[in-house]
Point group: C2
Chain length 187, copies 2
DNA sequence: GGGAGATACTCAACTTTTTGAATAGGTGTG
DNA sequence: CACACCTATTCAAAAAGTTGAGTATCTCCC
């Protein structure tokens, strides 16, 4: 039941269809929460049944109809309550790190490639998020934006995402250097 | 079936009981993979049935007997194959970030407290890992260690864990400052 | 004009994870 | 000497997440 909190937080931006949310929660876009389309559609149905969101069917001409979801008052209340709940330690699960941990008994070349892939992935995410950030700031400095913006939450999470991916790159480059030196030494 | 890879990577350090692994995979200790004891015991049983690990029962005097697991040749082979498999994008799920995203519609004081808690948590992890790092280095510089060590994987993942938690602290402090300024402005 | 990819979902089966309890002796603290 | 916490594991139920396919129309690019 944690996905619903992420969905409600996303709906603070305004109405969205399951399809819209699926794009936002996609691995290549999502900043701090991922979910598959199936997960989202199921959860949205449940949330609607419980009165947390309301659906409005929009008939479209040359496309399938869609249901646009928005937060109800009850949904807002639930979201507010969620923000005040005690925080449980989040589950970290990083497959790349398992590979790196096992590199000495594994295929060092493949692990090297996986680290390089992570770096490329991080660069792509940063590029995307920097564009989003520029759009948010819209010419203002960060301080001007933070002083005037209605919502600062999305900006703070964006900063965290950027910092995380930048750290991935820094660490990744260091790891590549170490792996290469080790590979050379074992020749 | 991803947990088993993490378990095999952990068993590279040598024999361990389910209980030992449960401690290593605990939220307050784990660097890049978490699992509950139940998850581990179940997975170890399956892995034993599939020949990936072998159990050795150690009878103890004033404690329950324990089963010490170690990697079999087949387990090592599987682990090696895993390191060469294509990497799937890892699932990010950070409840704190959901709260921060929703802070403008939520309980700002509670979110602030949650960020502060994350900072304290990160500090505790760093302290633990710096001790572990000092033990690994054992007086040597990082370069000396990396040149001579049998295994570099655990050191690289340790670096990633440290960098991640340091980033948590930097971001957290920035977020607190922004939240405080916002709270003051809304007074 | 053919094929890839976007829009917008639904269904079903399966695996994994979470939660909570139970067992049972041992050790350390005030 | 009671109480909390440590060792070491097992069981069961419920919730959540993953995988893969299917439907149908539209747009864009070569």
């Amino acid at each position: 039941m944690a996905l619903r909190n992420a969905v409600m937080a996303a709906l603070l931006e305004g109405e969205a269809s399951g399809y819209d949310l699926a794009k936002e929660f996609d691995a290549s876009v999502a900043n701090f929460w991922m979910a598959t389309p199936q997960q989202l559609y199921r959860e949205l149905d449940r949330m609607e049944a419980e009165g947390l969101v309301r659906a409005r069917v929009v008939e479209q001409e040359r496309r399938p109809n869609k249901r646009l979801f928005s937060l109800t008052e009850q949904g807002r209340r639930h979201l507010r309550e969620f923000t005040a709940e005690p925080l449980r330690p989040g589950a970290i699960r990083d497959e790349l790190m398992v590979k790196v941990q096992a590199v000495d008994a594994g295929d060092a070349g493949a692990v090297r490639a996986a680290v390089a892939e992570r770096i490329a992935w991080a660069e792509a995410k940063i590029a995307r998020w920097e564009r989003l950030r520029a759009r948010l700031l819209d010419g203002r400095t960060e301080d001007e934006f933070l002083a005037g913006a209605e919502r600062i939450g999305p900006y703070l999470t964006l900063l965290r995402g950027l910092a995380f991916e930048e750290e991935n790159i820094r660490w990744g480059r260091r790891a590549l250097a170490v792996l290469d030196r080790r590979a050379a030494a074992l020749q």
